[in-house]
C-alpha cells in the first residue's frame, strides 16, 4: 500500500503537531494523571508518524517498529507511570520551579530556538525548500519536543514528573530519528525502545524506595549530597 503525497504530508503534520501540542500542555498543566494520558497520546502520535513514514517509503520493517512503539510508548510506559502514582506518589507537581506563564514563554522561546538550530539538519536533508519533503520540514518540531523535555526535567522536582520530562525528551529524539532517517536500523531501534522502558522502570522503583526511605516528599529534599 502506498500513501499519496498529500496524505503523507497531512499525517506527518498531524502527528508531529500532536507531539508538540501535548508537550506544551505538559508544561502548562501540573496534575500527574492527565500528564500520563498525554504521554500515552504522544506514544500514539509517534506510532502514527512511524507507520506513515513506513508506508510512504514502502518499508515493511517500519510498520513492525510502529507496532512496537505503540505497545511500549502508548501502553506499557504509561501503565508503569500510573502504577507509580497509585503506589502513593503525589499526584500533583506542586513544587515546580516555573509558574505556568513563565513556562509557556520559555516554550515559545525554545520552539523558536529549535527552528534556528535545526537549519543545518534541514539544509542537509534537502535544502529546506518546498521540495524538501514533509519529513525534513518537521525536524524542528522534534528538536522543540526535545528542548521542552529538558525544560520539564530541570523545572520539575517530583520524581514522577521528572520521569515524564525524560519520556518527552526521548519521544522528541525518536521523532527526529524517524524524520531524518526513517529510523535507525531495527536492532538499534529495538534496543533504544527497551532501554527507555527499563529506565522508566528503574526510576519508578527508585522513587518508590526513596519514598519509603525518606517520606513522600523525597525529591524536594534531594540536598543531602553536596559540597
Amino acid at each position: 500500500m502506498n500513501l499519496s503525497t498529500g496524505a503523507v504530508t497531512q499525517l506527518v503534520a498531524l502527528s508531529t503537531g500532536t507531539l508538540l501540542v501535548s508537550a506544551v500542555v505538559l508544561v502548562w498543566r501540573r496534575s500527574l494523571r492527565p500528564a500520563v494520558r498525554l504521554i500515552a497520546l504522544q506514544g500514539v502520535a509517534l506510532a502514527v508518524l512511524v507507520a506513515t513514514i513506513g508506508l510512504a517509503e514502502g518499508g515493511g520493517e517500519l510498520v513492525v517498529v510502529a507496532a512496537i512503539v505503540l505497545v511500549l510508548k502508548a501502553v506499557v510506559v504509561p501503565f508503569v507511570l500510573d502504577r507509580g502514582i497509585a503506589a502513593g506518589g503525589p499526584d500533583r507537581e506542586d513544587q515546580a520551579r516555573l509558574n505556568p506563564t513563565a513556562g509557556l514563554v520559555s516554550v515559545a522561546l525554545l520552539t523558536t530556538l529549535a527552528y534556528l538550530v535545526s537549519r543545518p539538519v534541514t539544509a542537509a536533508l534537502g535544502g529546506g525548500g518546498p521540495d524538501a519533503g514533509p519529513a525534513a520540514a518537521a525536524v524542528p518540531v522534534g528538536v522543540a519536543v526535545v528542548l521542552i523535555g529538558f525544560l520539564l526535567l530541570v523545572t520539575r522536582r517530583r520524581a514522577l514528573s521528572q520521569v515524564v520530562g525524560f519520556v518527552v525528551l526521548d519521544n522528541g529524539i525518536a521523532t527526529i530519528a524517524f524524520l531524518t532517517s526513517a529510523g535507525v536500523p531495527l536492532l538499534v531501534e529495538l534496543g533504544t525502545s527497551f532501554e527507555l522502558l527499563l529506565i522508566v522502570l528503574i526510576l519508578a522503583v527508585l522513587s518508590g524506595r526513596m519514598r519509603s526511605a525518606a517520606g513522600p516528599k523525597a525529591l524536594d529534599s534531594m540536598n543531602e549530597l553536596r559540597d
Partner: protein, 482 residues
Amino acid sequence: MDVLLVLTPVVGLLLGVLTGATGRGVRLAPVVTSLVVLGVGVVLVVHVAVEGHAAVVGAGGGLLRADALSAFMLALVGAVGLTATWGGLGPRRPGPADASARRYAGLVCVFLAAMSLAVLADNLGVLWIAVEATTLATAFLVGHHGTRRSLEAAWKYVVLGSVGVAIALLGTVLLYAAARTAGQATLSWTVLTSGQLPLDPGLVKVAAGLAVLGFATKAGLAPMHSWLPDAHSQAPAPVSGLMSGVLLAVAFSAILRVQAVADVVLGPSFVRGLLLTAGLASLLVAAALILRQRDFKRLLAYSSIEHLGLLAVGAAIGGRLAVAAVLLHALGHGLAKASAFVMSGRILAAEGTTTIADVHGLLARRPQLAVPYVTAIAALLGFPPFALFFSEVAIVLAGWQAGLGVAMGGVLVLLLVVFAGLARATAGMVLGPPDGPVGELPPAARGPMAPVWLALAATAAAGLLAVPLGGVLTAAARAVGA
C-alpha cells in the same frame, strides 16, 4: 578469534543472569567474568602486538570489531574489573546468599559485559546501547546500600546519565541521517571513518557535537560532571572502583571513536576545541573542589574528574604521542583508582567514617590499610615510577609541540593545585599520632591484598615497559586515526 568477541559479553551476561537467579557463586561470578574479559583482552592485545596496528578482528555480522584500541580497552576493563571485584571480596558469609547479594553479583557481571560490548562495538548504535546498558546495570549498584543518600545519588545518576546518553543518541541518529543522505544507510564506524562516504559537513558537525557532549556526560567531564561525586562516593567501594577506574574510560573511548569520524569529515579543529574546553573546565572544577573537600571518597571522585579532564586535553592535542599517552594514562588511572577505592572502602569499614578530618594517624595505627592507600594515592598524584608520571609528561610535551603552550601552562598550574589538595588531605589522614581505634581490624575491613598490590605493581611497571606495551599503545592510537 572472532568467536571470542561475541563470547565475552555473552559470558558476562549469562553469568550475571544465572548468579542473580540462582544465588550460586555470588562471590566467584564477578571475579570469573573479569578474568574472562581480561583473558580475551590479553589474547587480542597479543594478536595486535604480533600482527601490527592493522590487525582487526570482525564478528557478529559487522556489529562487533576489535582493532588495537578495542583490544587495549578490553584488557583494561578486565584488569580494573579484576582489581575491583577480587579486592572487593568481603568476608564469606554463612548460609545461602540473600536477595541483595544475588542482585549485586548479577549486576556487576552484567555491568562488565556491557562495558566489554561497548569497547568491541563497530556499529555506533550498538556502542550507544552498550553505554546506556552500563547506566542501567549500575543504577541499583549505586543505590545498593538503600540509604537515603545512596538512593539520592542513584536517582541523580540515572536521570543525568540517561539524559546525557539520550543526547548521544540524537548525535548517533544524525550521523545515521548523514550517512543515509550520502548514499549508504549505515552506522558502521569502519565505513564512516573510511572517508569514502561524502558526509554532509554541517550535519556531521551537529551530530559529532551532540555525541561528544552526550558521551562526555558519561565520562564525567565538566560541565556535565555533577552526578559523578555523588554516585562514586555512595556506591559500594568495588563499584566505585569499577565506575571510576574503567567506566569513565569506556565512555571516553566512545568519544575517541566519534572524534575519529568527525576528524575525517571536518578536520581536527572542531572536536579539538570541544575537548580542550571540557578538559580544562574539568581540571578547574576538580582543582577548586579538591582543595576544600571533607570526604575522602568524594575526594577520589573529584580526582577522577581531574584525570578524565587530562585525558580530554590529551585527545584534543591529538597525534600519536598524545593519544598513546592518553591510553597509558587511562590504564594507570584505572588500576590506581580501583586500588584506592578498594582501600577507601576498607578504611570506611575500619573507621566508620568517610570524613577526612575524623581519620588520623592511620600509618601508625593501621599500616596494613594505610600503606596500600598511600601508594595508590602516590600513583594518582603522578609520582614516578608510576605510569601516570610518564603519561602526564608525554601529554604536556605533546601539547607543547602542537603549539598549545598556553593551555599546557594552565594544565600544569591546575595539576599542581590538585596535587597540593590531594596530598594535604591524604597526609592529614595517614600521618600524625595514633589517636583512634588500634588493633585487630573488623572483619568487613579485611580482604585480599594481592589484587591491590598486583594492580599497583602493574601501574608502576606499565610506564617502563616500552617494548611490548608501547607498540600496542601506538597501534591503538593509529586505530583512531592519530
